[in-house]
């Protein structure tokens, strides 16, 4: 009797404790998911009170929309280009930071600064760096190379933004790897040294396999982040030139809040969500984490 009363009190307390977050998630996460599908079946324009049901028409239109198809391509190029490089770079940086070296705290801070800075700030700085009379071309001119205007050249704009992304996030993921590295027993390395393995061999034979769970986590986060890249595109190129930097999330934004076709925008977001699910599922299948 006493026990159940106590149980009841415990449950009541627990619900009170989690109540507020739960309501918030219901309103701003779980309901919106269902609502997103609902909206995507309508021709939903905020300026027009009449919102007709159009069935799958938005989806059919999406796959005939050249810009949407380009945006899928751009997003894939972006992700496939950024994720492996930033992951490897983060691991290398973490490996270096894990060595005994002078001024480690300083170097760690230096690599981490881009990651804690607002994406708008880094984007603005890089707009200047990438412009025709900017820093990058100045440095290139010192070695006698004449560069272009990287953000208005359709051949380079996407890659320029990808480079910026790698620059900002590699320091962030370095910290994740650093924690993983510190949990590797030193004895492994010592044994390897006795066997005469050099630093590179140690890196590939011990470090890389041992941090596999962290790698899994970093790759998943990297995938989700890259698939949804928005801030840099918005600030630096607005999707141009010639749609060469229109990514899927920018496409969603543009159609929803610029052309005001919220139903169409929601449909493109639904497609993007499925692509992200597919990518992470594929990763799970072909590159399983051994942490579980």
């Amino acid at each position: 009797m006493k026990l159940t009363a106590k149980r009841k009190e415990q449950a009541r307390t627990a619900y009170l404790f989690i109540g507020f977050p739960l309501i918030l998630f219901l309103v701003f996460t779980f309901f919106p998911i269902i609502f997103a599908f609902y909206i995507s079946f309508y021709d939903w324009n905020l300026l027009i009170p009449d919102k007709p049901f159009v069935g799958l028409a938005n989806y059919f239109e999406l796959f005939q929309d050249r810009v949407f198809l380009i945006s899928i391509k751009n997003t894939l190029v972006y992700t496939i280009g950024v994720v492996p490089i930033q992951t490897l770079l983060a691991l290398v940086l973490a490996f270096i930071m894990n060595q005994k070296l002078r001024g480690r705290a300083f170097f760690r801070l230096a690599f981490y600064i881009p990651a804690v800075t607002s994406s708008v700030v880094t984007s603005i700085i890089f707009v200047w760096i990438y412009s025709k009379p900017g820093l990058l071309n100045y440095l290139l001119s010192l070695i006698g190379v004449e560069g272009t205007d990287y953000l208005t050249n359709p051949g380079t704009a996407l890659f320029a933004i990808m480079a910026l992304n790698i620059w900002t996030t590699s320091g962030y993921f370095m910290i994740s790897f650093l924690a993983g590295l510190q949990s590797i027993p030193q004895t492994l390395y010592e044994a390897a040294k006795i066997d005469g393995a050099n630093q590179w061999q140690q890196f590939w034979k011990i470090t890389v396999p041992m941090v596999r769970p962290v790698t899994y986590f970093v790759v998943v986060l990297g995938l989700i982040g890259c698939f949804q890249v928005f801030d840099q595109i918005y600030v630096m190129s607005s999707g141009g030139p010639v749609n060469s930097t229109t990514t899927m999330s920018y496409f969603t934004y543009n159609n929803s809040f610029k052309f005001f076709r919220l139903g169409y925008g929601a449909a493109s977001a639904v497609v993007l969500a499925f692509i992200i699910f597919g990518a992470t599922a594929m990763q799970k299948k072909y590159f399983p984490s051994e942490a579980y």
Partner: protein
């Protein structure tokens, strides 16, 4: 337990208080415009101050909208946070009018006996009418004219101004120079911009249209393509430059820095030059003619949202701003031309050496208004970028987007 509940309640209450303390002020009327050059803003504030002096009882808040004006305004209209009086671009007016979100002004005009609506130039009024209803009142207009740098003209030994395409191209060639002899030109005859508005004057001069009078799309018709090829050709031949190559953001800046000897712009370039490049000696001329004389004119109106709670106050302000006095004070520096005949005549716009060029251009100017949604414009801009940045042939670029753009034709008034 009690303790905990009280604390929780306190936190939630505190949050609610903080969150609700200041929704944006909906207790006074709001006026919005886009942001232009500092001197233009100064002038506008002066005009508003005059209104305040005369109407101390009508309170309002001026909130300029920076950045992408049309996009933000649209968002505001859709979220019921729109200002009670705002600038409406003639170019976007058809879509806004078709959405039925603007307040009809006819009754207000009729109730104000000395408003004198017939004083407006008809072309400016008509840009803001749909099915005979007036949704905006034009505050000013601005045709594209040719700005030329007198010093650079003299240096190149040119003592006339171009009157047709052939002369224009010839002078561009003469004005393009490699001043530091490094094998690359650093002074150009002209500066181009991959935008629809900039190409349209040449299209009109070539008897072409974006949207033909019969409503069909004109962008793959011969006159349009020819004009586009001529415009792009100037850049391709290296006798015109483009903003991106010079690290400038707009044509006026390149003109001010004397990177380009000629530029096409509206009157807004004049206050910009005065603020930033006061020493550059320039002249203004009508655009060179093609098969006929033509240019594009922009008109801007004041409109109110249907949802406004301050109709009376907003009208009072609108009446002042487009009234004879307000328009005189706004247009007297030449930033834009008056849309009232009486204002233009009384202030000598037809006699003024520079303003008269604008007034004359108005005689053969066409407004740029088409029945396509923003997405349609976006497609054209992208196609233009492909031409200028990737050397895509103009004809191919236009043919590729033709069918896509047809989909963005506005279907007219959807409600009532």
């Amino acid at each position: 337990m009690k303790n905990g509940q009280n604390f929780l309640a306190f936190i939630i209450l505190a949050f609610v208080l903080v969150a609700s303390c200041s929704p944006p002020g909906s207790d006074t009327m709001r006026l919005s415009s886009w942001v232009s050059s500092p001197s233009e803003t100064e002038l506008y504030k002066q005009t508003l101050a005059n209104f305040r002096d005369q109407n101390p009882d009508t309170d309002f808040k001026y909130e300029p909208i920076p950045g992408n004006y049309s996009e933000k305004l649209q968002l505001m209209l859709g979220t019921r946070t729109a200002p009670d009086l705002f600038y409406l671009k003639g170019m976007t007016a058809p879509s806004y009018m078709s959405f039925g979100i603007l307040n009809p002004l006819d009754e207000l005009i009729a109730q104000t006996p000395d408003f004198d609506v017939d004083d407006f130039y008809p072309f400016a009024l008509e840009a803001f009418q749909l099915d005979g209803v007036q949704y905006g009142l034009p505050k000013d207009f601005n045709p594209y004219v040719l700005f030329y740098n007198k010093k650079l003209f003299r240096e190149a030994g040119i003592d006339t101004i171009p009157t047709n395409w052939k002369e224009f191209e010839q002078m561009c060639t003469q004005l393009t120079k490699d001043l530091d002899s490094d094998g690359k030109s650093d002074q150009f005859g002209f500066i181009v911009e991959p935008s629809v508005e900039m190409v349209m004057p040449f299209v009109y001069q070539n008897n072409g249209h974006f949207q033909n009078p019969d409503g069909s799309l004109g962008i793959t018709d011969e006159p349009f393509i020819e004009a586009l090829e001529f415009y792009y050709g100037l850049y391709q031949k290296g006798i015109a430059t483009i903003g991106q190559d010079q690290g400038v953001t707009w044509n006026g800046d390149a003109f001010g820095r004397e990177i380009s000897a000629m530029a096409i712009s509206g009157g807004w370039l004049m206050p910009f030059m005065k603020d930033n490049y006061p020493d550059v000696d320039y002249g203004v001329a009508p655009l060179p003619a093609g098969k006929r004389r033509a240019t594009v004119a922009f008109t801007t109106a004041y409109s109110m949202p249907k949802s406004t709670k301050f109709e009376g106050e907003a009208w009072q302000l609108l009446d002042f701003l487009v009234g004879k006095e307000g328009m005189s004070s706004w247009t007297n520096t030449g930033v834009a031309m008056p849309t009232r005949r009486s204002v233009a005549e009384e202030n000598g716009f037809h006699e003024h050496p520079i303003y008269k060029v604008f007034m004359e251009s108005a005689e053969f100017a066409s407004p740029f208004q088409v029945q396509y949604s923003e997405r349609g414009f976006e497609e054209v801009v992208v196609a233009f970028q492909a031409i200028f940045f990737t050397d895509k042939p103009p004809r191919k670029a236009m043919e590729d987007i033709e069918s896509q753009i047809k989909k963005y034709r506005l279907v007219g008034s959807k409600n009532n």
